[in-house]
């Protein structure tokens, strides 16, 4: 039994990666498949140790390509299923993710991202933003993308990811990085509300007492693929309208607003507190959902503040989405670090500069 099942609402000191596992197990996920890659190996290791006792399945695949197709098969069976990987492994999964989006199959995919492109390095990075939010694989689809910035959110957003994936019949991604995955802090293991679980009348379980079912993404008949694409578009539009999540942090009276997600946002909170002590009105809008992106929130915020400071652990990816929501591009500043966490000092320095102050 996991510690979680034994005592819900308990404070647990653990790593972000393990909090993901606890959230998945709490949300009824009993099937995990994966392939080792740094810096997320705590996840398959936890699942290998705990899922069998819970009556579940852990299986280490021969590759990430096989992994995502194990996921496809288990998802088509109507079960909650998860995998985790990091940049290069997620790239290998893109084929399967496109098929799953096309076949309308839910699953939770965790990317504890590292720096790229290519083999890159194992340093924390947010360089997979484009890949995560713009589809990644072929054919034009979206993933629901959630970006936790604490161990608490690694837990709660994993539970949410399962609910959203099932609700919309589409894969959902947890986009973290090596820091939020590896850091340890206490979190409250709240109980999962099973009322959020939905029926799956499309699942393949053998056709006893009913017509046969197919789960597929091929549509060759007249207009069928066009109709299917508009159906998927409608779903993504609904997600855009109904599922945006963002945190407003110290935005009252702010003249400088940071826009950052995940670890970059976590560090920014410290810099904002320091800036406020110096009398600089800084705050932050933190997208929790990267798709759907908080477009309206960014648009409204841009009207109120002097400058939007986008901070990312890459050379600038989300900043493109911020620009798209903000008419005055000359009021957008960017601070990027492709392969490291920006320090609070670095962020504070940039805030001071934008406020016209010297440090």
């Amino acid at each position: 039994m996991s510690a979680l099942a034994a005592s819900p609402s308990k404070r647990i000191l653990t790593k972000g990666n393990e909090a993901i596992c606890l959230g998945a197990v709490a949300a009824g996920c009993r099937h995990y498949y994966g392939y080792p890659i740094t810096p997320q190996n705590d996840i398959p290791e936890y699942m290998a140790a705990h899922l069998p006792a819970l009556g579940g399945t852990f299986l280490q695949a021969e590759s990430e390509i096989a992994t995502i197709n194990f996921i496809l098969g288990t998802s088509a069976s109507g079960k909650r299923v998860m995998t985790s990987s990091s940049g290069p492994g997620i790239s290998l999964m893109q084929e399967g993710l496109s098929y799953m989006a096309g076949s309308e199959l839910p699953a939770v995919i965790v990317n504890i991202s590292r720096s790229g492109p290519g083999l890159g390095g194992i340093a924390p990075s947010q360089g997979d933003y484009f890949q995560a939010v713009k589809g990644g694989g072929h054919g034009g689809y979206r993933l629901i993308v959630l970006a936790p910035h604490s161990v608490q959110e690694m837990y709660t957003l994993t539970m949410l990811a399962f609910d959203l994936a099932d609700k919309y019949r589409t894969p959902a991604m947890i986009l973290g990085d090596a820091i939020v995955g590896q850091m340890k802090e206490p979190f409250v293991a709240s109980a999962y509300d099973t009322a959020s679980m939905v029926e799956k009348p499309w699942a393949l379980t053998g056709c006893a007492g009913r017509e046969r079912r197919n789960v597929k993404s091929l549509h060759l008949k007249d207009n069928a693929i066009e109709i299917h694409n508009w159906k998927l578009y409608g779903k993504y539009e609904r997600i855009r309208k109904e599922e945006v999540r963002a945190e407003s942090y110290m935005l009252d009276g702010a003249t400088i607003a940071i826009v950052a997600f995940g670890t970059a946002a976590r560090v920014s909170k410290t810099a904002i507190q320091w800036a406020r002590k110096e009398g600089i009105a800084a705050g932050m809008l933190r997208p929790i959902t990267l798709f759907p992106f908080p477009e309206r929130e960014v648009f409204e915020l841009a009207k109120k503040v002097d400058v939007l400071l986008v901070i990312e652990m890459n050379t600038g990816q989300m900043v493109e989405d911020v620009r798209q929501c903000t008419p005055q591009h000359d009021r957008i500043a960017f601070l990027g670090k492709p392969c490291a966490m920006p320090t609070p000092e670095e962020i504070l320095e940039r805030i001071r500069l934008l406020a016209g102050r010297k440090g």
Binding site: H31, Y33, T57, L59, A61, E62, S63, I65, A66, T67, N69, F70, I71, L72, G73, T74, S75, A76, S77, G78, K79, V81, E95, G96, Y99, S103, L204, T205, G206, C207, A208, G209, R212, R213, N214, V215, K216, S217, L218
Partner: protein, 259 residues
């Protein structure tokens, strides 16, 4: 049914299998998919599996499995059927799971998935249709294309010096510990069809008994892409193809490793 008292046809001995959908075949004249589908459907019926089966269709001509076999079917990406089937079987170990794959699918892009599914001894059955070419994409070279065979991407004939040799998958997979049954059959004569059905039955029995991974390789035709009339295509299977790809059972496990 015949009238009472009459000798003869009082009991039907040859009917459409319950698991075969009553539709016209869209396959090219002389193609063997229809016969192979029928054998699969008959074996599903024989063991009463229709209501607990999940089929895995791949890409290429084989993808239309779900138009012909009256069971739940999930479609997989090119070559990944053994991985998708693994995901289905691990989630539903009480169900009957089979894949239906062509040679480009199983022996080229999906080599990794088939070898590892076999090696894990996944308790599922694979129907492998080898017609030595990529059918749906227009007759390009497959890993099973014969030496000297002209295809749209071996216009001067397959040459082992650049293109390698045709892969013998049934033999290759029989060498893996996790494989419980591996056989190669053909359906070019009534006698071969009977033997093919025996092989599929045996493969299905392996899964039912929990013995692990089973595969039946079918030598099949593609008259359209071979540029042959159906009868010429049959002759090619009976001659050249059967010589290089011998028919027979390459492995038959008697007892499960993990009872």
């Amino acid at each position: 049914m015949s009238a009472p008292g009459k000798v003869g046809f009082s009991k039907p001995v040859y009917t459409r299998p319950r698991s075969l959908v009553d539709v016209k075949s869209h396959f090219c004249p002389g193609c063997h998919h229809g016969t192979i589908h029928k054998i699969v459907a008959e074996c599903i019926d024989r063991y009463g599996l229709r209501e607990k089966t999940i089929g895995v269709a791949c890409v290429g001509c084989a993808v239309f499995l779900y138009d012909y076999i009256d069971v739940d079917v999930v479609e997989s990406p090119h070559g990944r059927a053994p991985a998708v089937a693994t995901g289905v079987k691990r989630a539903q170990p009480d169900k009957f799971v089979f894949t239906y794959q062509g040679d480009g699918d199983l022996a080229a892009i999906g080599t990794s998935e088939i070898i590892h599914a076999a090696n894990r001894g996944e308790n599922l059955s694979v129907i492998f249709v080898n017609n030595t070419t990529y059918g749906m994409t227009g007759g390009q070279m497959a890993p099973t294309t014969m030496l000297g065979q002209k295809t749209s991407t071996t216009p001067y004939g397959r040459d082992f010096r650049g293109d390698g040799y045709p892969i013998k998958m049934a033999e290759l997979l029989s060498g893996l510990e996790g494989t419980s049954y591996s056989a190669r059959v053909a359906v070019s004569t009534p006698a071969q069809i009977r033997k093919a059905k025996e092989a599929v039955r045996k493969a299905f029995e392996m899964q039912i008994a929990g013995m692990g991974f089973s595969i039946v390789e079918f030598l099949s035709t593609c008259p359209t892409n071979w540029g042959m009339k159906p009868l010429e295509a049959q002759k090619r299977v009976l001659g050249e193809m059967s010589e290089y790809f011998p028919l027979g059972v390459f492995k038959e496990r008697k007892q499960a490793d993990f009872a």
